[in-house]
C-alpha cells in the first residue's frame, strides 16, 4: 500500500508545524524553562495539527537526545521517537476516547498511570476526540487530571471543545489551533508536491487549498488523489473535475441569467449541468462562495486576502458586482442557504435548486419581507432615474387587434375595460381553453374564499366554453338566467376578471351564454346538455370509451 501523503508528511518537529506559531512557541518555551504543564487541551478544526503537535510534544519529552531532560528539537530517529511515531511506544499512549468513552476505560488509565515509564522519561497520554467521553468518564478523569504523578502528561485533543466539561477545561492549559490561511496551505502543498515530484501549477494548488477549507489533511489528501489520478502531471481541469468544482465561467453565467430574471434560462442551465454529470451539491457550495465574493467585492476597495484570485477573475467579479444589486445578492444568498439546509435534511438537490432559481428569477412570487425589500429598491432606483411610468408586472405589449366581435348568441356583451392594452401576449399565447378549464375549480374556490359565495354558487354549474383572442365565453346550463344575472353584477364581474388575470396572467373579457345553443364545432356529446336518455347500446359504448370497460356477457332482459 502507498501510505497516504497526509500521513507520510506529518510534521515531526515543532518548526514544521505550519500556522500555529502561538502554540509551538509557548510549548518550546515551556520545555526550555522546564515548565511543561501536566495537562493540555488542544482544540481546533479538523486537520490543523492537534494530534501531530501532541505527538511532537511526546517526542520532545522522551527523545534520547535530551539526555534525561526534555528537548526542543527531538531528532525523530532515536528508538524512542521512532516508537512514538509508529504508535508502538509503551510510554506514549494514544487513546481513542470516542470508542473508549465509558467510565471503565478511564478507570483503566487511572490504575496504570502511577507506574513509572518503562523506556522513556515521561508517560504521555494523548486522549484524542475527548469530547465523546461520557459525563461519568469525564468526572472520573478529574482527579487524575488535577494531580497526576510527576512522570505523567495528559494531552486532550478535540474538534469540539464546547462539549468538554468546564471542570476539565479549568484543569488544562488550553491551546486553540487556528484555521491556517490559504497561503499557508498552498505553501505546504507546494512543498509536498516538490518532494513527491508532482508537476502542478500555482493556480491549481490554490484551487486545491481553497477546497481544503482550512484543513491541511483535506488539502494534502486531495493532492494525493490528484497525483494518483493524473500520474504525476496535475492540470487545472483535472483538479476541477475530481473536486467536482464548478468552472468560474459557469458561476458568472448563472448569476447573470438570474439577475436578468430569465427563469427559462436558469432552468435550462441546471438541466445542462445535470446532463454533464456535475455534482449539484458542490455547485451550490461554489455558487454561494461566488455570491459571497461578489458581496465582499461590492463593499471593499481592496479585496481581502480571503479572495485569492487572478487579476482577470477579480476584474470579472468587479464588473458583475457593479451590475448586481446588493439586495439581490442577499436575497439569493438567503434562498440558497435555505436550499443547503433542505438538502442536509435529505431533499433532492436538483429539485431544491430549481425551485430556488424560480423564486430568484420571479421576485414577484415571493412575498417574504426580503423579497419585498428587493422590489422596493428597484422602484426607488426607477424613481431616481425618473423613468417611472406605470408598468404592469410583466413587460407589456399592446394588443394588436381589437377584441373580435362574437356574433353567436351573445346575450350580454361586455364593454372592454380600460386597461385592456396591457394584456400580456406571451401568457395569452400560452393560454388555452383546456388549461382554463383545468384551473376552473381553483378559480371558483378562490372566489368563494374572497367572500363571493353567490358568485361561486352561480358559477358552480358553468364552464368555459370558448376562448377567442381575449374573449372568454362562459356557458351556463339551460335555465340559469338568474345565475347569469348574478355574474353580470359589475362587482362580481370585476372580481371574476381580476381572478382570471391573476391565474392566467392575461386580461380576458367575459361573455356569458345560457343554454345549449349549438355552435359549429361544439362537442355534441356533452352529457349535461339535457337529461337525455341513452339507449343501452349507447351507454355501453360510453362505458367502453370513457372507462375502458369490457363487455363480458350480454344479459337478455325478460
Amino acid at each position: 500500500m502507498t501510505v497516504s501523503l497526509y500521513r507520510k508528511y506529518r510534521p515531526v518537529r515543532f518548526e514544521d508545524v505550519v500556522g500555529q506559531d502561538h502554540i509551538t512557541r509557548t510549548l518550546v518555551n515551556a520545555i526550555r524553562q522546564d515548565r511543561v504543564s501536566h495537562a493540555y487541551l488542544f482544540a481546533g478544526p479538523r486537520g490543523t495539527g492537534k494530534t501531530t503537535t501532541a505527538k511532537i510534544l511526546a517526542m520532545a519529552l522522551n527523545c534520547q537526545t535530551g539526555e534525561g531532560k526534555a528537548t526542543i528539537s527531538p531528532d525523530g530517529t532515536c528508538p524512542q521517537c521512532r516508537a512514538i511515531r509508529r504508535g508502538q511506544s509503551l510510554d506514549v499512549l494514544e487513546i481513542d476516547a470516542a470508542s473508549n468513552r465509558g467510565i471503565d476505560d478511564i478507570r483503566e488509565i487511572r490504575d496504570k498511570v502511577s507506574f513509572a515509564p518503562v523506556e522513556g522519561r515521561m508517560k504521555v497520554y494523548i486522549v484524542d476526540e475527548v469530547h465523546m467521553l461520557t459525563t461519568e468518564a469525564f468526572n472520573a478523569l478529574l482527579k487524575m487530571l488535577e494531580e497526576p504523578p510527576v512522570h505523567a502528561v495528559f494531552v486532550l485533543a478535540t474538534t469540539e471543545p464546547h462539549k468538554v466539561l468546564p471542570t476539565i477545561l479549568s484543569r488544562c492549559q488550553r491551546f486553540d489551533f487556528r484555521r491556517p490561511s490559504l497561503i499557508e496551505i498552498t505553501r505546504v502543498l507546494k512543498n509536498v508536491a516538490a518532494k513527491e515530484q508532482i508537476e502542478i501549477s500555482e493556480a491549481t494548488l490554490t484551487v486545491i487549498a481553497r477546497a481544503g477549507a482550512g484543513s491541511f489533511r483535506d488539502a494534502i489528501g486531495t493532492l494525493d488523489q490528484l497525483a494518483t489520478y493524473c500520474e504525476g502531471m496535475v492540470g487545472m481541469q483535472d483538479a476541477l473535475a475530481v473536486l467536482g468544482l464548478a468552472e468560474q465561467d459557469l458561476l458568472f453565467e448563472l448569476v447573470d441569467i438570474v439577475t436578468e430574471r430569465d427563469t427559462r434560462g436558469a432552468l435550462l442551465f441546471i438541466e445542462r449541468l445535470a446532463q454533464n454529470g456535475s455534482d449539484l451539491n458542490q455547485f451550490l457550495r461554489d455558487l454561494l462562495g461566488h455570491l459571497r465574493d461578489l458581496y465582499v467585492v461590492q463593499h471593499t476597495e481592496e479585496p481581502p486576502a480571503s479572495i485569492v484570485t487572478t487579476e482577470e477573475h477579480l476584474h470579472g467579479l468587479r464588473s458583475q458586482a457593479n451590475r448586481t444589486a446588493t439586495s439581490d445578492l442577499t436575497q439569493f444568498i438567503d434562498l440558497l442557504g435555505e436550499v443547503q439546509r433542505a438538502i442536509r435534511q435529505g431533499a433532492d438537490p436538483r429539485l431544491e435548486l430549481e425551485l430556488a432559481l424560480i423564486k430568484m428569477t420571479r421576485p414577484a412570487l415571493d412575498l417574504s419581507p426580503q423579497s419585498l425589500a428587493v422590489r422596493l429598491e428597484r422602484l426607488e432606483q426607477l424613481l431616481e432615474a425618473g423613468s417611472l411610468v406605470p408598468v404592469p408586472d410583466d413587460p407589456p405589449t399592446s394588443v394588436a387587434a381589437a377584441p373580435p366581435q362574437n356574433e353567436t348568441a351573445v346575450s350580454t356583451p361586455v364593454s372592454p375595460s380600460n386597461d385592456s392594452a396591457d394584456v400580456d401576449t406571451e401568457s395569452l399565447a400560452r393560454l388555452s381553453l383546456d388549461s382554463l378549464r383545468g384551473a376552473w375549480p381553483v378559480l371558483l374556490e378562490r372566489l368563494r374564499n374572497q367572500g363571493k359565495p353567490r358568485l361561486y354558487a352561480a358559477l358552480e354549474t358553468a364552464r368555459p366554453e370558448s376562448l377567442e383572442g381575449t374573449t372568454l365565453v362562459i356557458r351556463l346550463p339551460h335555465g340559469s338566467e338568474l345565475q347569469e344575472a348574478q355574474v353580470q353584477v359589475p362587482d362580481n364581474k370585476a372580481a371574476l376578471e381580476q381572478e382570471l388575470r391573476a391565474l392566467a396572467g392575461a386580461h380576458l373579457q367575459i361573455v356569458t351564454q345560457v343554454g345549449s345553443l349549438p355552435e359549429p364545432g361544439a362537442e355534441p356529446e356533452t352529457l349535461e346538455e339535457d337529461a337525455r336518455i341513452l339507449k343501452t347500446s349507447e351507454l355501453l359504448q360510453h362505458l367502453q370509451r370513457e372507462f375502458g370497460a369490457t363487455l363480458i356477457e350480454e344479459q337478455k332482459q325478460t
Binding site: V242, R264, G277, S427
Partner: protein, 374 residues
C-alpha cells in the same frame, strides 16, 4: 487489471477513471463513494473490493473476484445500517476486527454502505481507525448524503464522485438491457432522473408502473378535488401502503417455518422468533417508507413539472410522457402555488424520517397542498 471490471457501472466516466488509476498506481486506505442513489455506487464498490482482494488485481474471473462481487469473500466485511442507524457497536467491532490479519487475500476490505447512517457516537468512534488503520486494511464508505456525516470523517477519505446518469447513456443502457424502443428508453431515462436502479425496477415491476399512474392522476386531480375526493385519495394511498406492508410481512412469514425447523431447543427457538419478529417489523416499516416515497416523489415531480412548464421551460420536464396533460394544466398565475405544493411534499418527506403516523402525515400533506393551490 482487466478492463471489464467496471463494465456494470454505467455513465460514470470520472469515477471509473479515478478508480482505475488508483488500482494502477497504488491504493490508499480509505475511499468514500459519493453520489445520488441508484447510480451504481454499490456495484462499483463491490468491483473495487474485488480488485483489492483478487491476487491478479481484479481479473474478474477468479474465485476471489466472484466471491467479492457477490459480497461473500471472507476478507470483505460489509456493514449496513441496523434499522435507521449504524450504531457504535458495529464500529467497535470493526476497530477490533481491523487488527486481525486477512484470511485469504493480502488485505481486508471494510465496505460501509449508507455510511451517513452512522450516528454521532459511531462516527466519532470510527475516526482513529479510519485515519491510521493497520497496513492491511482498506475502507470503502458509500453514501448518498455526505452532508450528514461529520467533516472529520469526510476529511479522512479520498472522494470518488458519482453523478446522475445523463439521459443519453442511461437510455442507451436501458435499450441494451431491455430492448425497448428508442422513445421509451429516453422517456424512462428522463422519468427516472438518471436513477438506474429505479429505471430497472420500473421496467420489471408492473405494480410500480401502476403506482406511478395512480399517483400522477391523483396529483393532477387535486386542484379540482372536493373534500370527499381528497379523503378518498388518502384512503387510496393508505390501501396501497397497507398492501405493500402485507406483502413484505408475508415474505418474512414464509421463511418463519423453515427457520424454526432448524432451531433445536426452546432458547434457540425464542431467539429465532425474536429476530424474525424484529425483521418483520423492519421490513414493514421499509415497505411503508418506500410507498410513501413513491407518493411524495409523484406529487413533488408533478408540481415541479407544472412549475417549469408554467415558467416556459418545457424541455426540462421529467414526466415527459405526460407533457400534454402538463401543458393543459399549467397556469402561469399559479407558479407560486406550485412551488408551495412542492415545499409541502418536501416537508412531508422530512417528517417521515421520524416516527409519524402515515395517515395523519398524508392527510396533512393533501390538505396543505390543496390550501396552497387556492
Amino acid at each position: 487489471m482487466s478492463t471489464g471490471l467496471f463494465d456494470g457501472v454505467v455513465g460514470q466516466p470520472l469515477a471509473v477513471a479515478i478508480l482505475s488509476s488508483v488500482l494502477r498506481k497504488g491504493v490508499g486506505h480509505a475511499y468514500m463513494f459519493v453520489g445520488p442513489r441508484g447510480v451504481g455506487k454499490t456495484e462499483a464498490a463491490l468491483a473495487f473490493a474485488a480488485a483489492l482482494l483478487c491476487p491478479e488485481r481484479g481479473c474478474g474471473c477468479c474465485e476471489a473476484c466472484r466471491r467479492a462481487r457477490a459480497g461473500v469473500h471472507p476478507d470483505l466485511v460489509t456493514i449496513v445500517p441496523d434499522g435507521n442507524f449504524i450504531h457504535i457497536g458495529a464500529i467497535r467491532e470493526i476497530n477490533v476486527d481491523a487488527a486481525k490479519r486477512p484470511y485469504q487475500a493480502a488485505v481486508r476490505v471494510y465496505l460501509i454502505l449508507d455510511a451517513d447512517a452512522m450516528n454521532a457516537a459511531a462516527a466519532n468512534a470510527f475516526l482513529k481507525t479510519l485515519e491510521e488503520p493497520p497496513g492491511h486494511v482498506r475502507f470503502i464508505l458509500v453514501t448518498n448524503n455526505p452532508e450528514r456525516l461529520p467533516q472529520t470523517i469526510v476529511s479522512r477519505c479520498q472522494r470518488v464522485p458519482f453523478s446522475r446518469i445523463p439521459v443519453e447513456s442511461l437510455a442507451a443502457h436501458l435499450r441494451d438491457l431491455f430492448g425497448l424502443s428508442e422513445d421509451d428508453c429516453r422517456a424512462l431515462a428522463r422519468v427516472s432522473q438518471g436513477d438506474l436502479r429505479y429505471a430497472r425496477e420500473f421496467v420489471e415491476s408492473k405494480s410500480m408502473q401502476d403506482a406511478r399512474v395512480r399517483v400522477l392522476s391523483q396529483a393532477c386531480a387535486l386542484p379540482g378535488a372536493d373534500f370527499a375526493r381528497e379523503t378518498a385519495m388518502v384512503d387510496e394511498m393508505m390501501d396501497v401502503l397497507e398492501e405493500r406492508q402485507a406483502q413484505a410481512v408475508a415474505v418474512v412469514e414464509a421463511s418463519r417455518e423453515r427457520e424454526l425447523e432448524w432451531a433445536g431447543d426452546a432458547r434457540t427457538r425464542a431467539w429465532v422468533e425474536k429476530t424474525l419478529n424484529q425483521r418483520s417489523k423492519r421490513e414493514k416499516r421499509a415497505a411503508m417508507l418506500a410507498g410513501v416515497d413513491e407518493v411524495i416523489r409523484g406529487f413533488a415531480g408533478w408540481y415541479r413539472d407544472l412549475a417549469v412548464v408554467a415558467a416556459g421551460a418545457e424541455e426540462v420536464v421529467h414526466n415527459v410522457d405526460y407533457l400534454d396533460d402538463l401543458r393543459l394544466n399549467a397556469m402561469p398565475g399559479l407558479l407560486n402555488a406550485y412551488l408551495a405544493v412542492v415545499s409541502v411534499a418536501e416537508r412531508t418527506r422530512e417528517r417521515f424520517r421520524y416516527n409519524v403516523d402515515a395517515r395523519c402525515a398524508l392527510e396533512d400533506m393533501v390538505f396543505s397542498m390543496k390550501e396552497a393551490l387556492l
